[in-house]
Symmetry: C2
Subunit: 348 residues, 2 copies
DNA sequence: TTGAAAGCGCTAACAC
DNA sequence: GTGTTAGCGCTTTCAA
């Protein structure tokens, strides 16, 4: 690995001039510049980012923390962030926490050592506590929020999405609708539940807490919850299910199949978050889809805008800015074949 | 951010001693050590990796380059690598190339600036050329190989997997079997095709090149290829399809559905690489499954073993070692419901 | 066992 | 326009 000193020597200039020729071309005479550029090319020179960052106290690096890289939604978020970072000349370092507090803490510690200039995080229940590890770091919360006041958030209209999904089921004539909701210490789960409830109330139906079961976001949780709901006596059993995330929806569909229930004849299902799987299963699933890639891009754009703002001298610690952005993107209800009117209208 | 000097001052020692107390505890007197540790804790000290790496000329960092992080297989590889790196105290920096030569080049350049100690790469057709950007960097090729001699490779038994899949179809009585193969400048495609051919030959069937169509690994390529194969006149049309990767398999299934073909009655399908989708579609898909996570873990373990070996003084540039490892993991043919005997045995 | 000093590669201040 | 010098935070000689 050749250093800038090697380049300088080869070009017959000082290291300082070589550095300027490469980073501030206009501060150097044309012929000198050319000599340096040529020397650099010849040596295949690549600046040592460690040294540069150390000196400039600026790494042009951001951290990205998602909770499950194997979940297509999160992978898409991460890709959106990375692509956007790339466009801005930043490098994004990706970490994965599996919703685990310890892993999250370790990711933050590792990250901290590499001096990222900002952080994009899909928070968990522990995040608010863990973020104390990186004080004064500009942060964007992605997809979920901790309630941390001074922080920029980029999310989706979970309430609206859940409400639309539920209203759709009600419109079809369903009156006993079950919901499989995520952990209620996570904002998306809370909001989706709120939207569900809102639609129920608006339609003048009575909200039945017995039809709302929690799950830990995993396929098996969805399956168990669905199994329980669908095993209720016929006159109590929901005729439709709204499921709060993609993995649990898989489980719910599997449960319905196990019980020999026909979708949508015996049971309507709406999932949250679209997927390859939802599109190609039989019957294709009605879902609330989210603009995952755009979410990632926006989070990154906002973070980097914030960074340049800080750098420009305005704003102090970044986290204590005047009014942090609250970006919210719409969801879209995609009607497919997993929903239909209930077969036997229950006698009230 | 407090520096080691802050810690040293607080503990009434020199920076050198503070450094030793933290990194080489046994070189420091017990009471001193305790003072330093306490000071560090109190300040929430986290070493600056940039400075440390610069000084030690060792970053404890590796690069990981995959071609499509949105593909579940690749996400799983990446996760395996990251988890393993973590266990070894290394940090893995993940990049995504979308099979694009330019992106790959830029990823390598970025990476290079951060001085990774090794690289794990899922190569593309351009990789062999691009790797010249990082001379003397220990490399492990994952899933696919470039043919680069001195390099460790961690792959799957593609030939065996393809052969088993094809033999299974032949065993069911199929004689006209189509294959949708990936780009033939990629080793996995070549090998899977070889395995396919081998099974055909071993069964004494005649290999018909007209039934083998290439694709660029994307869903739409699989669909187009399947559409063409399945539109052949009845007596030429394949009664079974072996598809060389997961995305293209989706396309092939979609094509069969478009044509109103019943799987497996009218058409048997076997895919390469298992997935959520393959398990839950109707009918569940017979596939050759690959141990993706283990593949990632092994690649990382081997790379890091190699690094310690170099560090221990043996071996020079890493890439020019005596005999690089060639790790190959088995695949597994998972029989589900997408394969059955052909309905009408063709009259030869 | 500890401290002083040097230096990893780079760039920003300051001279000239 | 260009060179000299200093220093980012750390670890590692070398001396004491």
């Amino acid at each position: 690995m050749s250093s800038i000193q090697d380049v300088a020597t080869l070009a017959n200039v000082s290291a300082a001039t070589a550095s300027r020729a490469l980073s501030r071309p206009d501060m150097v005479a044309q012929p000198t510049r050319e000599r340096v550029l040529h020397a650099a090319q010849q040596l295949g020179y690549q600046p040592n980012m460690l040294a540069r960052s150390l000196r400039q106290r600026e790494t042009r690096t951001i951290g990205v923390i998602v909770t499950d890289i194997l979940n297509h939604f999160h992978a898409t978020l991460a890709k959106g962030v990375q692509d956007a970072a790339d466009r801005h000349g930043y490098t994004a370092f990706l970490f994965n926490t599996d919703e685990d507090a310890g892993k999250e803490r370790r990711a933050l510690d590792t990250l901290r050592g590499h001096l990222p200039q900002g952080l994009i995080v899909v928070p968990t229940a522990h995040t608010r506590e863990n973020l104390k590890l990186v004080p004064n770091l500009p942060i964007v919360e992605l997809d979920r929020v901790t309630g941390n006041p001074g922080v920029t958030t980029v999310t989706v209209d979970n309430i609206g999405g859940a409400r639309a999904a539920t209203a759709h089921l009600i419109g079809l004539g369903h009156t006993r609708i079950g919901m499989i909701v995520g952990k209620l210490d996570i904002s998306t789960a809370v909001e989706r539940h709120a939207g569900f409830r809102q639609a129920i109330d608006e339609a003048g139906l009575t909200y039945d807490p017995a039809l709302v079961l929690p799950g830990e976001h995993r396929e098996e949780d969805g399956r168990q919850a669905a199994l329980r709901l669908l095993s209720l006596p016929l006159h109590l059993r929901p005729t439709a299910l709204f499921v709060g995330n993609n993995e649990m929806t898989v489980g719910a569909v599997l449960a319905a199949r196990e019980l020999g229930l026909n979708i949508p004849a015996d049971l309507s299902i709406v999932g949250f978050d679209d997927s390859r799987w939802a599109q190609t299963m039989t019957p294709p699933l009605t879902v609330v889809s989210q603009p995952a890639y755009e979410l990632g891009v926006l989070a990154c754009d906002h973070l980097i805008a914030q960074l340049s703002h800080i750098q420009a001298g305005h704003g102090q610690s970044g986290r204590a800015r005047a009014s942090p952005a609250r970006v919210q993107l719409p969801t879209e209800l995609i009607l497919r074949q997993s929903t239909a009117p209930p077969v036997c209208v229950p006698t009230a």
